[in-house]
């Protein structure tokens, strides 16, 4: 292993001594990856980085590393070796897991007792627990179970100066002190590095049936979506897929067969002059496909009652672009755009001009220019004040959220 000019021996030697030389990899003249074995080693690395003013990004599987559009740090701190499910007291419906644990592996462990973390993030086969929580990812299950802020009950954190702190706890109900877990969820590794997460769990649903309703335009499905949302159906997910070739509404029901809810759903569908078809589970695993390497991918929030109209507007107003949308009826749309970069750049600007919608840019296609987030000025300065208290030197996740960092 050759050490570059940018990495003086004394620095890499000291870092290597914290984790063992085989767990340090020089990536380039200015970047290296280090893989600690435990929270104490994470603390040692951050204390060292703090002392030497080196920037650090936590790294899981790298599936969402570009979210937030940060700069390349001096150190990628890989959590790959913190990959264990520490405990699963299944009768308490909770678990404690290390941040580097693969999401699918966690779910497989929990499934042994018929339980799961009720969340279906992107890239489940590769993503890690820490990455999913840091990015506050969510999918179709959010309709029924809420987002990570309703599922994370505790954490172990390492702050920028190496301080190890615990937040929350291991019980579902707990109002002692500030809920720092909420602050960390979605902070993209800019406030602290998460090394362990405690989740509240749910029982895997016993009776799940999948249905689909097709229509040429989303607006033709709006009446059905509204009546399902206002109904007593035990709907697990309500997801709309739209592209130039048409729209499909996916409906997942969790009711016991004897409750005969599919019959109620069929009647509601007929009332809208639409046709209900039972389908397989494969319909739901498609959000990953939006992230083709050339695609620009947006996550757009809209009021729930405008989702269908918004999905149509995306197809009709941006005719020079190829638009694929997977929208959740509660008001969150993942949108992949393909086309000329300047047209996409302009489209994002136009979408952001609408006060009813909020646009996060998850992935930038080549040549496309747009900031990851737009945050209103008064609350942005409060967020900067929080950032400054946690990381005064701006060493964690440099450039994410706050561009001047």
């Amino acid at each position: 292993m050759s050490v570059s000019v940018a990495w003086p021996h004394h620095l890499t030697d000291q870092l290597a001594s914290l984790v063992g030389p085989e767990h340090l990899r020089i990536d380039s003249e200015t970047a290296l990856t280090i893989s600690p074995a435990n929270t104490a080693q994470v603390s040692g690395i951050l204390a060292f980085a703090h002392e030497h003013r080196l920037s650090v990004c936590p790294h899981g599987a790298g599936t969402k590393q570009t979210w937030g559009q940060g700069k390349t740090p001096s150190i990628f701190l890989s959590l790959a070796r913190l990959n264990r499910v520490i405990e699963h007291p299944w009768q308490d419906l909770t678990c404690t897991v290390q941040a580097g644990c693969n999401w699918a592996a966690l779910q497989q462990t929990l499934a042994a007792h018929g339980q799961f973390v009720a969340l279906d993030p992107l890239f489940e086969d590769r993503a890690t627990v820490g990455g999913v929580v840091s990015a506050n990812d969510s999918g179709a299950l959010r309709h029924r179970y809420g987002s990570l802020r309703d599922l994370v009950i505790g954490m172990t954190l390492v702050l920028a100066d190496g301080t190890i702190a615990r937040a929350g706890g291991k019980v579902v109900k707990n109002v002692a002190g500030y809920d720092l877990c909420k602050l960390m969820t979605g902070s993209l590794g800019t406030l602290a590095i998460i090394t362990e997460v405690n989740f509240r769990l749910h029982s895997l649903p016993r009776h799940t049936r999948h249905f689909t309703v097709a229509a040429p335009k989303a607006s033709l499905l709006a009446g059905l979506v509204a009546s399902i949302r206002a109904s007593h159906l035990l709907t697990q997910s309500l997801q709309l897929r739209s592209s130039a070739s048409g729209c499909f509404l996916g409906i997942r029901l969790n009711a016991h067969p004897q409750a005969e809810q599919e019959e109620i759903l069929a009647q509601m569908t007929r009332a809208e002059n639409l046709e209900l078809a039972e389908c397989g589970e494969e319909l739901w695993g498609t959000r990953d496909s939006l992230f083709a390497p050339e695609a620009t991918v947006l996550r757009i929030s809209t009021p729930p009652d405008q989702v269908c109209a918004f999905v149509d507007e995306l197809q009709l107003s941006y005719t020079d672009l190829e638009v694929h949308t997977i929208a959740q009826a509660f008001g969150l749309c993942d949108v992949a755009l393909h086309g000329a970069p300047e047209i996409i750049t302009d489209a994002i600007r136009r979408l952001r001009a609408d006060a009813d919608t909020t646009v996060a840019v998850l992935q930038l296609g080549p040549g496309v220019e747009a900031p990851a987030f737009e945050i209103a000025a008064p609350v942005l300065s409060l967020m900067q004040a929080v950032k400054h208290k946690f990381d005064p030197e701006s060493l964690l996740g440099p450039g994410k959220f706050f561009r001047e960092a």
Binding site: Q91, D92, T94, R149, L157, L159, T163, I164, A165, R166, A167, G169, K170, V171, K173, N174, V175, A176, G177, Y178, D179, L180, K182, L183, G186, S187, H202, S203, L204, R206, A230, S231, H232, L234, A255, H256, Q258, A259, E260, S301, T302, P303, P304, D305, F330, G331, L332, T358, A360, F373, I375, A376, P378, V379, L382, M383, V386, H388, F390, F401
Partner: protein
């Protein structure tokens, strides 16, 4: 005038809120000297009743300029001293900001002011078939602003979550008078989830002056079952078995013999006379609830329930819940004085922890009765004592705090829903290490560098914890009059 405020400051406050919005007379200030934790009393310098967000902003700007601490207050039903005034502070109360501003059924949202009473939110949307889920037992008197400060729960948070799950967006006046919007009416507000930290921060990060809440479709059917057991352990086992069977009831509550007897004397719910009573509420589509109720009944019988009683109609359910909710106020029938605690433990430690608590009570020669939200492991042990017996109050206080220690040792928490406030701030250092608390302080100082917003609460301080004076529980006037009960 007891006020440490200068005449100039008072005149300025009067200009902001008008004559009717400023209270300085001592006899009127006394109304605000404590909340539900009546053992602690401090007279505020003045009480303000603003009518708008703009007025709150002007008040806080003045406080910031003059370095005057302030304490926001709703109805004062809090049980941990969260609204207890601080020496020389202003109390800002919201009885004149109590309007419902907008109802948006299509998006299942409602926008209200902080002084709106919790149950009035449900009342506003109930005709349309919706409800507001968080239901602290004081819901007929407590305010949404106070619920947000405390992240209020209730019997039904097992299924529906806490206040934080149901607040989408808030207008917040920061301690320097700046105005920010935290959260959003649409999912995923960009940036840090400051709304998530603000809710439950017990008034230490600023004041919310407008909030948009999530409302939910009322369930099609609600059913409650009462099951009588010979031991608490058998009731607790049934709770674990129900969870393990994959059901998520709306509520699961356990009462022990003493509590059952007290409830019976006070509101006659006609409970079976037994060692442990388990109350389970299921809600949802009718066919689904019928099926689940069969499973739940079988589980209870399998664990030795010798009587199961199903309540389907509203009148029966009302009586059952009335008995449950009266259990604490009814403790006054068992003993002249009592202390209520609010610990949380992992559900599976329930039998072991209860055994330990019993042994501790016997060793102290004090009676402890238990009523708890068994579904989420939230215990409310009630330590019974008589203040007239020399030394008994001190022993009761000591026992109640040692009960919290046992909860922490079992992997739980010192508070599930009542908050830390003044009552439990010294127990925080038993649950959290210094670095944990210092990390919370970083948030505090980002919002409130001058420590003006509800100071000397929530965090342990040498001044308060050095004195070791935590005081005794005394029932709130609302509680003794039967308007509200302690859950």
């Amino acid at each position: 005038m007891p006020s440490s405020l200068t005449p100039a400051v008072l005149a300025e406050l009067q200009r902001i809120v008008g004559d009717r919005g400023l209270i300085t007379a001592v006899n009127q200030l006394q109304t605000y000297e404590c909340d539900g934790l009546t053992a602690f009393r401090v007279l505020p310098s003045a009480v303000l009743l603003p009518e708008s967000t703009g007025q709150v902003q002007q008040i806080l700007r003045l406080c910031h300029r003059e370095r005057i601490p302030f304490v926001a207050r709703g109805s004062g039903t809090g049980l941990s001293g969260g609204a207890l005034p601080t020496e020389g502070c202003l109390v800002i109360t919201f009885s004149r900001m109590n309007r419902i501003l907008a109802v948006d059924l299509a998006n299942q949202q409602i926008t209200v002011q902080p002084g709106v009473i919790n149950s009035n939110v449900t009342a506003a949307v109930s005709p349309h078939g919706y409800f507001y889920a968080p239901d602290p037992s004081s819901q007929t008197v407590c305010t949404i602003g106070g619920n947000i400060a405390e992240n209020a729960g209730g019997a039904h948070c097992l299924k529906y979550g806490f206040t934080v799950t149901h607040v989408l967006e808030m207008t917040v006046v920061l301690p320097n008078g700046d105005l920010v919007t935290l959260g959003a009416k649409t999912p995923n507000a960009p940036g840090y989830d400051l709304a998530g930290v603000f809710i439950g921060s017990e008034g230490t990060l600023g004041i919310a002056t407008e909030m948009t809440l999530r409302i939910m479709r009322k369930p099609e059917t609600v059913q409650v079952i009462l099951a009588a057991f010979n031991t608490i352990q058998a009731a607790a086992q049934s709770v674990s078995d129900v969870i393990a069977s994959g059901q998520l009831p709306a509520a699961m509550e356990i009462m022990d013999r003493l509590s059952i007897e007290a409830a019976e004397i006070s509101v006659h719910p006609n409970y079976p006379s037994c060692e442990a009573l388990l109350l389970i509420e299921l809600d949802g589509p009718e066919a689904e609830v019928n099926l689940q109720m069969q499973t739940v009944t079988d589980i209870c019988r399998g664990n030795g329930a010798w009587e199961t009683r199903l309540a389907i109609d509203e009148q029966d359910r009302f009586l059952i819940w009335k008995g449950r909710k009266a259990a604490f106020a009814a403790a006054g029938r068992l003993s002249p004085n009592y202390i209520v605690q609010d610990g949380v433990i992992p559900r599976t430690s329930l039998p072991a922890v209860l055994e330990k608590l019993n042994a501790m009570a016997v060793a102290e020669n004090l009676r402890v009765t238990n009523v708890f939200h068994a579904g989420d492991g939230n215990l409310h042990p009630i330590v019974l004592y008589n203040r007239e017996n020399p030394g008994e109050e001190e022993r009761a206080i000591d026992l109640s705090l040692r009960i919290l220690d046992v909860c922490v040792e079992a992997g739980g928490s010192i508070t599930g829903e009542h908050g830390v406030g003044r009552e439990k701030q010294c127990s925080m250092s038993y649950m959290f290490s210094d670095p944990d608390l210092e990390t919370m302080q970083r948030v505090r100082h980002a919002f409130d560098p001058l420590d003006l917003s509800n100071p000397e609460k929530l965090f342990p301080t040498p001044r308060i914890c050095g004195e070791r004076s935590r005081g005794a529980y005394a029932p709130h006037p609302l509680e003794t009059s039967g308007i509200a009960e302690v859950f």
